[in-house]
Structures are given as C-alpha cells and as structure tokens.
C-alpha cells in the first residue's frame, strides 16, 4: 500500500492468489541440474541488491551515525568522532523527547480512532446506498483520496487562512464573530486541528472504499440464515457483518497507524511543526534536530528510537500478519 497516499500506497490487486509454486512438470528443454537451481536467485538478485544497498544500508548507517558526535563542525571537516551512547543518553533524558513521543502517540491514536470510526461508517453507508448515490459518493471519495498530499496541505492552508479563508468566513457567519480573523496556525491545538482534519479527510476514502469492497463479498446466505434464526437488523450487523469484516478492520487499522505515525509531510507542510515547535511529532522532531539544527548524530538517534517505537506499537499486529502470510505462502 502506501501508496503511500504514497504517499499512500494504493491497495492494488496484490493477491490474485493461485500460487502454489509447485514443481514444474518436466518440460522438453529443462536446463539441467545445478544451473536451474540458481535461476530464481539470479532473477531475484537485482531487486535484492538494490533494496539492500538503498534501503538496508541507510538503515544501518542510521544506526552507525547515532553513535557519533556529528555536528556542523565534524560534518564540514568529514570527521568521525565516536561518542558511544551519549546521543541516546541525551535524547532519553531530555524532557523534549518524551513530550514529543507522548504527543506523537496521542496524535496517532486520535487520528486513527477518528479515521477508523468515520471510515467504517462511510463504508457501511456506501453499502446501503442505491446504485446512483453510491457512485456519486464514490466519485467524491476518490477525488479526496487522489489529491496529492502537498497540494492538499496547500489547499487546507488556504481554507483556514486568517484573511479571506473560507472557514473563518463561515464561522463568523454562523455566529462566532470572534473567528472572523482567527489565526489557526498561532496555537498548538488549533494547528493540530487543521492537521488532523487534513489527515482524516485524506484517509477516510481508503478505509471506506476498502470496507465497502469487503462488504460486497459477504455471502447473502449468511444474512438469510441469520434472519431465519430471527435475528434483527442490529443482531445481523453484530453477528454477521462485523465478524466478517474484522480482518479488514484490523488490517486497515494497522496500516493507518503506520501512516499517521509517520505523517511528516502533513505536519511539516502545514506549519513546519510550529508554533514554537509545539506540533512536532517524532519524524518532524528528528528532522528538525538532525537537519535543521545540524545535530546529525542526535537526529539519527531520535530517528532510530522512532523506528523502535513504531515497531513496538505495531509489533502485535505485525506478528499476526507475518504468521498469516507464512501459513498462506
């Protein structure tokens, strides 16, 4: 996925599933013995090599850098100064880091809860609508989904602009006169509100459309059987729909957690983590410390801790997914 709107990787038709990869029947010209055994590895080699070099090496290098005293001076003079675990000591004992971590977790939780609840409701609504209305709403959802992040964030800045922004105008019209010239990006919570709205807006379509697609695969017989058993609408929902959708809900929640936790682009483009660095989440914090303040070693340490935290948050689900895949392959 991600697509990731790439950003958000769109969920393409990945598993068209038939594979068993079983042994081929002997063709007339099957190349003999050892060479044939090597073929799959040769075919895979380019992909593995570039991935190891360009993804694996930066990850390892990030680890190496995090044990170095690498600031502007060392950077310019190409010096390598090891300083053991000093970066980690400094990061882990700083109040800032824990504050940003707490903020990131809360920010992610709030976003994901909203996205999942609203997205699910919209998905169920799609299933209920008539054909025409459904297509109509799908078009709207797809437009929001397709909007490139940076473009969307620019538009949100304009919607919430202090002067001539349409949101302030509407709020003033409906009676909140004090909002007429409100500067949304002046305080922590209102900046977060704009970022939150942006993320929820761009994430709902993915969840809703996924979920709707999932509902279309629920066998009708299940509902018939349930209604024969005298189950009402609510009972059918909790006993047929929900259990059937559970795997999809887990999978999308998992993806949303990863995406929102890494929401560097949205936070950074809306207000660069401001005002006063109060809306920095972990990836932005790592960037500002590392690139902005040129404490590259420190930044690398924060980046590594960010990855560890992300893994910790998702590990429970990651284990399930990996196990499932393992069984299926």
């Amino acid at each position: 996925m991600t697509v990731q709107k790439t950003e958000r990787p769109p969920s393409g038709p990945t598993e068209v599933q038939t594979l068993d990869g079983g042994p081929r029947p002997k063709g007339p010209r099957r190349s003999p013995g050892r060479l044939a055994g090597l073929t799959p590895y040769l075919l895979l080699a380019p992909a593995i090599i570039v991935t190891v070099l360009l993804l694996g090496w930066p990850l390892v290098n990030n680890g190496i850098l995090s044990f170095q005293n690498l600031n502007m001076r060392q950077f310019i003079l190409h010096l390598t100064e090891w300083n053991g675990i000093d970066n980690y000591k400094e990061v882990l004992t700083s109040e800032d880091f824990w504050r940003v971590t707490g903020r990131s977790v809360a920010f992610t939780a709030l976003n994901v809860v909203l996205i999942m609840i609203l997205g699910t409701l919209v998905g169920l609504l799609l299933a209920r609508l008539g054909r025409k209305m459904r297509t109509f709403l799908l078009v709207g959802l797809v437009l929001a989904w397709a909007m490139p992040v940076v473009a969307a964030s620019t538009v949100y800045q304009w919607l919430f602009a202090q002067r001539f922004g349409v949101v302030n105008w509407v709020l003033a019209k409906v009676g909140f006169d004090s909002m007429a010239d409100h500067d949304w990006l002046a305080t922590q919570y209102s900046t977060f509100f704009v970022v939150l709205l942006l993320i929820v807006w761009m994430s709902i379509p993915f969840v809703a459309i996924n979920l709707y697609a999932a509902t279309t695969t629920i066998p009708k017989e299940l509902y018939e059987a349930a209604s024969l058993d005298g189950a009402g609408a609510w009972k059918q929902f909790t006993q047929v729909t929900l259990p059937y959708l559970r795997p999809f809900l887990y999978a999308t929640t998992f993806l949303e957690i990863i995406w929102v936790f890494k929401a560097f682009v949205q936070v950074f483009t809306i207000n660069e983590g401001g005002p006063d660095r109060l809306t920095e989440i972990l990836p932005v914090y790592a960037y500002i410390e590392g690139m902005g303040n040129q404490h590259f070693g420190m930044g690398a340490a924060i980046a590594l801790l960010t990855i560890v935290i992300l893994l910790a948050i998702t590990s429970f689900y990651l284990r399930i997914v990996l196990k499932q895949e393992e069984d299926e392959l």
Binding site: L54, W57, T154
Partner: protein, 276 residues
C-alpha cells in the same frame, strides 16, 4: 410505513453532505485558481469563478525554474518507475512460479520493505549522498524512488503473474520454447494491463514524494514540484490565486491517473477479499 421513507431518505442526505466534505477542498483549489484576484479577496467569498482568468496560472508558470522542475519531476518519476518495473517483473516471476529455498523469507522481506519508514531515514540518506558528493543531483533521487516503489511493484506483479494460467506457459514450452521465450511471448503480453496499473501507482508515489527531495536537493535547479509547491505560498506572500494555480498544476495529472485507475483498484481489492 412512516419510518421507511425516513429510512430511505437519511442515507442519501448524509451521502450528499459527505460528498461536499470530500470534494469542497478540491473544488475550492480549482475555483480559486481561476478567479480574478478581486474575487479571491472579496469580503464575502465568491463561490463560482464567473470571470474565469488564466492570470494565476501564468504567474505560477513564470516562476524561475518552473519548467526545469517539471522536467526534474518527470525524469525522476518516469525513470524510477521504469527501473522498478524491469527489476520487479523478473523477481515477480521467480516468486510466483518457482519453488526454492528462502522464497517465503524474500516475500516477507519485501512486505516489510514496503512499510519502510523513509520519512525518518532522511538524515542517514543525506549523509550518505553528501559523502558520495551527489547532493542536488537527480541520480540519487531516481534510485531511492525506485527502491521506494519496488516492493509494491514486485508484490503486485507477483499476483498478476500467478493469475496467468500455468498451462499457457507449459504448452508454449511443449511447442519448443525455452522458459525465457515462454515468459517473453506468453506471460509478458498477458501482464500488460497489470504492468500498466502497477506503474501508474508507482508514478503517483514518486511524483508526490516530498521529504527526501526536501533534504537532498536544495538548489532550485535540482528541485522537484512538491518542494516547489510547498514553498510557493511562503515565497508569494498571500497570492492565493497563484498558489492554488500551482497546486492545481501539480495535482491534475495525479487526479486524472487516479480516477482512471480506481475501478481496477477496487476490483482488485474485491478479488483479494474473496480469499480472505
């Protein structure tokens, strides 16, 4: 049956509200881009661009290096997609059709690679690229984008290869093709639609990429469009007309591609879901 009328009415009402919520930002971007400045800074918003003008598009496109950045974005994106397709399709074939030791491990590895936290790796990548003396170059950008979209490309294509009936390939081989020829003449043509949609998704990802180019290419001549757009509003003060025109120029290709792709994506999801 008083309730059933209401019951039929409210979902449609909610749908209309949701539609407006989804579409309004996109609409407002285009509307603002086409409105004369006087209408943009009117006391009350002008909801429809009745006196449409191309003025703002002109402003946006006359920014220094605009066409260079368009060129950069296209170059980097297209090359990354082409390379990842070439590399991806051979691996996809191996993973879908051959049985060998470590196959599961590779698939799981690529699944994990698909979730790589590129956003937080920018510092390490910056140091690597600086040490290779390649800042402000399109080469590292192309290579990193290629790896960014490779796992998705490869895993998706694996699904498409697996969907090609094995018998087609086998009968080609019975007719005397080598395995390579069978792949080229039988599987590859059948993969064309899959290659198409996969590469378009890769295109979208690379076209939108922001953090890496922000860090690596600071010189105007080496930037791509997302960075140009994100700094546009700061550079132009409150010229929202030009800013929205810039956003529209950036978004239109992707909106078109995405709408075009959507049907396929949902169909694919449903296919995948059946087995779930």
């Amino acid at each position: 049956m008083k309730r059933s009328l209401m019951g039929r009415l409210w979902p449609n009402l909610v749908a209309v509200v949701l539609f407006i919520f989804c579409v309004f930002p996109v609409y407002w971007m285009f509307a603002t881009a086409f409105k004369p400045t006087g209408d943009i800074i009117a006391e009350d918003p002008v909801w429809f661009p009745t006196d449409a003008t191309l003025e703002h598009f002109k402003t946006a496109m006359e920014v220094d290096h605009f066409w260079t950045m368009v060129g950069n974005s296209l170059t980097v994106t297209i090359l990354a997609v082409v390379f990842s397709l070439i590399i991806g399709v051979t691996s996809a074939f191996a993973l879908a059709r051959m049985r060998f030791k470590g196959r599961r491990g590779f698939i799981i590895g690529f699944m994990l690679a698909q979730m790589a936290p590129w956003e937080v790796m920018v510092i390490a990548i910056y140091i690597i690229v600086r040490d290779a003396d390649m800042l402000n170059s399109l080469i590292p950008l192309t290579l990193f984008y290629m790896v960014m979209i490779l796992p998705f490309t490869l895993l998706t294509l694996r699904g498409f290869v697996a969907a090609v009936p094995r018998e087609l390939e086998e009968s080609a081989m019975v007719d005397g093709c080598t395995r390579m020829q069978a792949f080229r003449r039988v599987i590859l043509p059948l993969l064309a639609p899959g290659l198409m949609s996969t590469s378009l998704f890769g295109f979208i990802t690379a076209w939108n990429e922001f953090p890496l180019v922000l860090v690596l290419n600071k010189e105007a001549e080496a930037k791509t469009l997302p960075v140009w757009l994100s700094s546009f509003q700061t550079a132009f003060g409150d010229d929202w007309g030009a800013t929205m025109a810039a956003a529209s120029l950036f978004a239109v290709p992707i909106l078109i591609l995405f709408v075009f792709l959507q049907r396929r994506a949902v169909a694919g999801l449903t296919d995948g879901a059946v087995k779930g």
